[in-house]
Symmetry: C2
């Protein structure tokens, strides 16, 4: 049944800062969040640029989903990942933006102000 | 010698997002940062409201200092703690604000919007 394939997602009202920080403290998970922020749409599990095996990536997707940061759904046989940006912004204003901005290479900012 | 009592502090340009997140992922350390944000001045090590022993608190202060989040100095025999707010804001805009805002009890926001 289709419903069985859709994993559990926490309600936005139960998302805690502790779980969100435990999720983004890992550099691979932070990279997933940053790639979703920078993408024009949702990304299939196999579509990320990650330095880990597929099974390790699956573990990181699960942590992010359980922390409330991403929503997963199926498109055919692909498991897709969407950032729950609006919901996170509502409960933790500015947090995702600050982390994604900080995550971008410092050289970007240095180039922008050099001169 | 006085200089020997002043512990090492990292240069703001060497502070990494990874170290900052590893520091604030701990709820006791997040509480120290929040209390410093909410205070009108610096706070002595013994002046925080923390649910841990003095030696455990000392460990947390060290992690925060090494991550670049706080500056420690002596006032007589008291070791004082100052949040390096301006420096952190410069390298990671919005991050401290977002974390401290998220850390405050949800009931504050609920009361504000209730009725």
């Amino acid at each position: 049944m289709e419903a069985d394939r859709i994993p559990h997602h926490p309600d936005v009202r139960t998302i805690t800062l502790q779980r969100v920080l435990e999720a983004v403290v890992d550099p691979v998970r932070r990279s997933i969040v940053t790639q979703l922020c920078d993408a024009s749409g949702d990304i299939a599990c196999g579509g990320f640029d990650l330095p880990v095996s597929k099974s390790t990536a699956t573990h990181h997707f699960r942590i992010l989903r359980e922390a409330g940061l991403i929503r997963q759904y199926y498109a055919g046989t692909s498991r897709m990942n969407a950032l729950r940006r609006d919901e996170i912004d509502e409960v933790f204003p500015g947090l995702l933006d600050a982390i994604v901005t900080a995550e971008r290479p410092a050289s970007d900012a240095e180039r922008a102000t050099a001169g």
